[in-house]
């Protein structure tokens, strides 16, 4: 369960998150939609522990554990995963090497044994097959020279391997062609369990046809302004965000 309570965040003196509050239950898929620049990525970065932000007040609890103040890698080991809007390139580090190092680092944090190499290879291969990632891509430096869509798939592959208890997907659909969108959505769906929750950030209803959300939230100017079921996404597709922006301005 992810609970964000009255979170106020600014960067460079500018307020981005405004008393932001949101709860995602175990096994729930919550979608956040909202205009550009409203603070969706900021929210995901703050939850994941990126340093640039000033957290003025609020709480972020993952399965009851306060995340604020923990290092990003500690949060990851506690089960938090963020699929980046723009995954980074890591030169000189073979994807396979990176994946194994990350998995073992998390296991070590949790006091678990290292994964055996055959076990690891098997899991990577399975997840890779499911996501249409060719084995030779795993030998290349992580994300270096990957296409936009390949980077997104690679992030989902990492999520599949790391088996987090909560996943945030920040515009995972952007840059994916329609076939890739289906593959990625199926990849995410196969990870849905009664325990694992997701926060899916997107601009397009289309993704939510494949990853069907339990709840849809509209975010504007740093807070949730409306919450509904999956039909809300359809409505937004028609009307856009004008109403919410006006409401805020008023």
């Amino acid at each position: 369960m992810l609970e964000v309570k009255n979170l106020n965040v600014s960067i460079g003196g500018r307020k981005i998150l405004n008393d932001f509050t949101l709860t995602v239950q175990d096994g729930e898929v919550a979608a956040i939609m909202g205009p550009n620049g409203t603070g969706k990525s900021t929210l995901s970065y703050v939850i994941a522990g990126r340093k640039d932000y000033t957290v003025e007040s609020g709480e972020v609890l993952l399965n009851g554990v306060e995340l604020l103040g923990l290092e990003p890698d500690v949060r990851a080991a506690k089960g938090l995963f963020l699929a980046f809007q723009y995954p980074l390139e890591i030169p000189g580090v073979a994807t396979m090497t990176f994946l194994k190092a990350a998995l073992n680092a998390q296991r070590k944090q949790r006091g678990e044994d290292e994964i055996s190499t055959p076990d690891f290879m098997k899991r990577v291969k399975e997840a890779g097959d499911r996501l249409g990632i060719k084995p030779d891509m795993l030998k290349r430096a992580l994300n270096v020279g990957f296409s936009g869509g390949e980077k997104k798939r690679m992030d989902i592959l990492q999520m599949a391997l790391l088996e987090p208890s909560f996943g945030i997907l920040d515009e995972t659909d952007s840059g994916l062609d329609i076939d890739a969108l289906k593959v990625v959505a199926e990849g995410v769906n196969s990870l849905r369990t009664p325990k694992r929750g997701f926060l899916v950030i997107t601009h397009y209803q289309r993704l939510l046809d494949y990853i069907v959300p339990d709840t849809v939230h509209v975010m504007a100017q740093g807070r949730i302004v409306r919450t509904g079921g999956k039909e809300l996404a359809l409505e937004l597709e028609q009307s856009g965000y004008r109403d919410y922006m006006a409401e805020e301005a008023a």
Partner: protein, 494 residues
């Protein structure tokens, strides 16, 4: 992967800013009076019972040195060194010519134990009983301050005809070899520090591999500066006769001190026809503290001459220590078809200043050289690669390939590349490639999000960056080097 994990564990186990080898050992020392003069030069020579020709050789160098000035072209800054405020000779008192390990001061043995350098032959054997590397032996010459304290595996080596001993001993046991080769690659007039070294050199290793012999094990020297205000001036001379092969590794450490300690070594390599010398260095002198106080000034002249046709010399270095490094291991490619190689990882962190690189001097026909340099700068350090590739007018068909990559960690460090290329022969082909990359906060955050700590992530990226060079090191040392890299980059992130 296992190695990466080990690196990371090692980093974790060490307190930030702790230089692991920074202990000082309380061993009684036999010192020359402070300062430098003809009398001191004579004193050193007399201590070693040297023949008259060598005393004269030293004195000539000393007189020459008096007329020289410190070079100032390197991109390093430091207050003037007071050469009269140093000790030029310091020997552990009990180490006057131990015949076997049993005679070596146990305190001294403890020092080397702390450093992780096995000196007991049976321990060395036990330590490397690794199924992948059956019977891998390493002979060690341990140099403590100015004196070589022990050399292992002497007997086994001498059966193969290999001479491996302190140079002070070789002067007596193989005078004709020493006299023939000493100063034949780095003349006493070469440069300020080399000339100083020629006048006051204390000890170092001597290696001679007879014709056609492949040295049966790795040879290794460990240098340790212990005494305060002591300059260390070792002198290494390695000769591979026709068709011979040797792989040699040098390692160094020093205690933490507030004052800067001077280290001005000279290494000369001579490869005759069809011979090959592989010289590796894992240098881990004390780099100074977080504020830039203390640390070793490492002003070293290393040069190899491929004297015979088809000979080969390769330098591999992992430089992580020293406050200042001024070092350009070079190859003079005199024989036709001879080959020179230089593989370097130079890491600077904190306030370290590194000005290092190589010279490949192509004199013979169809000579080839290859230079792979990986510079990593972190903290407030400055890291300069300086490389000279030149071809004489007779060096028809000479070829060089240089690849010089820099990696920056953080925003306060600098990387510089200064290539000099000159060719007096139109048929030469010299290629130079250079790149600079940076580890950004965003990259580190991405790695951390996946569960790696900032240190682990940096180690992973750095290991990827230096892989080509690490592969050149003998296996055991590659692991050691990888650990050193992680340790020296500690505190560079976050």
């Amino acid at each position: 992967m296992a190695a990466v994990q080990e690196t990371v564990d090692r980093v974790k186990s060490i307190d930030v800013s702790e230089y692991k080898y920074g202990f000082f050992s309380d061993i009684e020392a036999d010192k020359a009076p402070k300062g430098l003069s003809e009398d001191i030069v004579r004193f050193i020579s007399a201590k070693k019972n040297e023949p008259a020709w060598l005393t004269e050789w030293r004195l000539e160098a000393y007189r020459r040195w008096l007329t020289m000035r410190e070079p100032s072209w390197a991109r390093v800054n430091f207050p003037p060194v007071d050469y009269q405020d140093l000790y030029y000779y310091s020997a552990p008192k009990t180490a006057a010519g131990p015949k076997s390990l049993d005679e070596v001061d146990p305190e001294l043995l403890k020092v080397y134990e702390k450093l992780g350098i096995p000196l007991k032959e049976q321990e060395i054997l036990a330590g490397v009983q690794n199924p992948d590397v059956p019977e891998r032996k390493i002979a060690v010459d341990a140099v403590f301050d100015s004196v070589s304290v022990v050399t292992t595996f002497k007997e086994e080596l001498s059966k193969a005809g290999v001479v491996f001993c302190p140079i002070s001993e070789a002067v007596h046991t193989h005078p004709e070899l020493v006299r023939k080769y000493l100063g034949s690659v780095v003349p006493t007039t070469d440069n300020y520090y080399a000339t100083l070294n020629s006048a006051v050199f204390s000890d170092g290793s001597f290696v001679y591999i007879p014709p056609g012999v492949r040295c049966p094990m790795e040879l290794s020297t460990y240098f340790r500066i212990n005494e305060q205000n002591t300059g260390q001036f070792e002198r290494t001379l390695i000769i591979a006769d026709k068709g011979a092969y040797v792989s040699y590794l040098e390692g160094c450490t020093a205690p933490k001190r507030d004052e800067n300690q001077l280290h001005a070594a000279v290494v000369e390599l001579i490869a005759h026809e069809d011979a090959e010398i592989k010289y590796s260095t894992v240098q881990n002198w004390y780099p100074g503290d977080a504020d830039g106080k203390g640390g070793i000034y490492n002003f070293v002249t290393k040069r190899g001459e491929c004297r015979g046709d088809n000979s080969k010399i390769s330098w591999t270095q992992v430089e992580t220590g020293s406050a200042i490094t001024w070092k350009y291991p070079s190859c003079v490619l005199r024989g036709d078809n001879s080959r020179g190689e230089f593989y370097s990882i130079a890491i600077s962190n904190g306030h370290q200043q590194v000005d290092s690189g190589t010279k490949m001097i192509h004199l013979g026909k169809n000579t080839t050289s290859r230079v792979i340099s990986k510079g990593i700068s972190a903290g407030k350090s400055q890291n300069t690669y300086r490389g000279q590739i030149s071809a004489h007018r007779k060096a028809t068909g000479a070829r060089n390939f240089t690849n010089c990559d820099s990696l920056l960690i953080g925003n306060s460090c600098g990387a510089h590349t200064v290539p000099y290329i000159e060719s007096k022969n139109p048929s030469t082909q010299f290629e130079h490639e250079a790149t600079t990359s940076k580890i950004s906060e965003d990259q580190l955050f991405y790695c951390q999000q996946r569960g790696l700590s900032a240190e682990e992530a940096t180690a992973l990226i750095v290991n990827g960056f230096v892989r080509d060079v690490l592969q050149q090191l003998p296996m055991e040392f590659a692991v050691e080097a990888q650990k050193l890299i992680a340790i020296s980059l500690e505190g560079s992130v976050g």
